[in-house]
């Protein structure tokens, strides 16, 4: 992660003095954006750069659902299964994904293309059911729109 340090220095300057600890989340996010996941060597580098205890970073990585220590597929297909999405068809969406991709939630297709996850409320209940692919919300999903979306995921 050393090549990201110039960026992190700019980020640090936006915070008051003494806020090094706060940099853990944004730095982890940026590292993951860059590598696809957070490697053990990244943790070492971040401990050295920020001067925070290693355990703090380990705790952060094991707590937040968006952080991961292993690579996943190129496309992270996340379906919300909370109340409004369930009431508007999320279960059919999930069943279709399981069927079409031949994987269960938590798994990745053998060609490394897609990882399928179920997630909790995304804050898009008015356009349920919602599927999040990487950073993008795909709202008011239907089986047809889902098939069209999957086609575009190379």
């Amino acid at each position: 992660m050393k090549h990201l340090i110039p960026e992190f220095e700019k980020l640090k300057a936006r915070f008051p003095a003494g806020f090094e600890s706060s940099l853990v989340l944004p730095c982890v996010r940026r590292i993951q954006e860059d590598r696809g996941f957070v490697a053990d060597s990244d943790i070492d580098g971040l401990v050295e750069y920020l001067g925070v205890p290693r355990i703090q970073i380990e705790e952060v990585l094991s707590y937040y659902t968006q952080f991961r220590r292993k690579p996943i597929g190129r496309w992270h297909v996340q379906t919300c299964r909370n109340v409004s999405c369930s009431m508007c068809g999320a279960e059919r969406i999930m069943a279709h994904l399981k069927d079409k991709l031949a994987i269960a939630p938590g798994e990745t297709t053998t060609d490394g293309r897609i990882t399928f996850s179920t997630v909790e409320c995304l804050g898009s209940c008015g356009t349920a059911p919602v599927v999040m692919v990487n950073d993008t919300y795909h709202e008011s999903m239907s089986i047809e729109k889902l098939d069209a979306l999957l086609q575009k995921l190379d």
Partner: protein, 432 residues
């Protein structure tokens, strides 16, 4: 329109979120007025007099919260906007982040001035990518225009803001959990006292307010407390952004003036139930509020007093309409799975309690329910009430108590017959 509007007062266009459009609507004139002619304590007095309550779910008086921060105490003070919006059913703060970010920023500047906060933060949930980018762009525009930084608008007031992204955790929407996360750690809520306004971010006095709560500040300072009190009711001034979803015909974000009749909102403004079905149940303000049966909505007005009297509450503004034929057992199962997943694990009643409740409901749904399960769910709910570090333990209890109180017969049916009385149905309105 569900009554008089305060926030949703402009048409949403491709550019309505930009600085240029916001300035054309009179934006940042109130900041100028505040910095030129008002003392910090005057602003807090005005906001207190207006009766502005929190719009995130706790409904605590904003002005009273601010007044705990001692001005000129030689300590840094911090302001933090809570944009973690994670209560299932809620998506109304997102409207502000995407369409009125400058309203939030101007309001935060005024509030930071009132609190003598040199640094402000906006904690935004990690999943909100587009809202974050809109916010980040607005912050850049505001800095370029000189609204942040040193000597703002020629005054002695200086303020910096950082938009801080979460990474997936419901309890980071709880004010103390939010600050733990903002310190770069797990989002563990904290026991209070001390209050966050005494020891918050890095143990310094910190005000955490919901995005919508803060967004009301510019209007109050521009037009005065009396103006704000002309909206809503005598006991409940102002408006609330309500996000409605579920089996409703016209889901979306609406601004509802407090005191507006709930049936009128549901059946006129929101177009009634999709497919013309009957309203079986209504969750008024996020899944952590107690459910109302369809007929109970009659005569209720949308405000704190009326909803509390009806046995529920305004909550987070996340309204969910449930149509006839929906299985309430499976609905509670979704909720209990959620609370269990989101438990941070710190305290025994919540960590063990939510797990236990989840296992019980799963057993019921699997056809292995026992007669004593329902009273057990209620007992765990009662044990969690007031014994947990944060309100999530209580919330899992309220959701359960509410649904069991109104729909116990469906649960008893499933336990006895080992299947749903409603064919396990959750989906009703579907997209083609």
């Amino acid at each position: 329109m569900a009554g008089k509007q305060l926030l949703m007062t402009f048409p949403v266009t491709a550019t309505s979120h930009t600085l240029a459009d916001y300035r054309a609507r009179g934006g940042y004139a109130t900041l100028a007025k505040a910095l030129a002619g008002m003392q910090p304590e005057d602003i807090t007095k005005e906001v207190t007099a207006a009766g502005l309550l929190g719009h995130g779910g706790a409904a605590f008086s904003a002005g009273r919260k601010w007044s705990v921060v001692h001005l000129n105490d030689g300590q840094p003070h911090y302001l933090c906007a809570n944009a973690d919006e994670g209560e299932p059913g809620t998506f109304k703060d997102r409207w502000i982040l995407e369409h009125a970010p400058h309203l939030l920023l101007e309001s935060m500047l005024i509030t930071s001035y009132a609190l003598q906060a040199r640094n402000a933060f906006i904690y935004i949930r990690g999943e909100f990518d587009l809202p974050y980018r809109r916010l980040a762009a607005a912050i850049e525009e505001a800095y370029e225009a000189g609204y942040f930084g040193e000597r703002i608008l020629g005054s002695d007031f200086a303020c910096d803001v950082v938009a801080y992204r979460g990474a997936g955790s419901y309890v980071c929407g709880e004010a103390s959990g939010l600050l733990s996360s903002l310190e770069g750690k797990r989002g563990y809520p904290r026991n209070r006292p001390p209050r966050l306004t005494v020891q918050g971010l890095y143990k310094k006095p910190t005000v955490v307010n919901n995005v919508e709560t803060l967004s009301n500040v510019a209007g109050i300072v521009a037009n005065g407390a009396a103006w704000y009190k002309s909206f809503g009711t005598a006991k409940c001034p102002g408006t609330q952004l309500v996000s409605i979803s579920g089996h409703i015909a016209k889901p979306g974000v609406y601004e509802v003036e407090y005191g507006y009749p709930l049936t009128r909102f549901l059946f006129e403004d929101c177009g009634g139930m999709a497919g013309g079905r009957k309203l079986k149940a209504l969750i008024p303000g996020g899944i952590s509020t107690k459910v109302l049966m369809g007929p109970e909505v009659e005569g209720v007005t949308f405000d704190h007093q009326s909803l509390t009297a009806a046995g529920s509450s305004v909550g987070s503004g996340g309204m969910v309409a449930i149509g006839e034929g929906t299985c309430m057992v499976r609905l509670l199962q979704v909720m209990l799975r959620f609370y269990h997943h989101e438990s941070c694990g710190q305290c025994t009643p919540c960590r063990e309690g939510t797990g236990w409740m989840h296992r019980i409901i799963d057993r019921i749904v699997a056809g292995e329910g026992r007669p004593e399960d329902l009273d057990r769910l209620l007992a765990i709910s009662r044990w969690n009430d007031g014994t947990t570090i944060c309100g999530m333990g209580d919330a899992a209890g309220y959701a359960t108590i509410g649904i069991l109180a109104k729909f116990r017969d469906e649960f008893e049916y499933w336990i006895e017959h080992k299947r749903s009385r409603e064919e396990g149905r959750l989906e009703m309105a579907i997209h083609a």
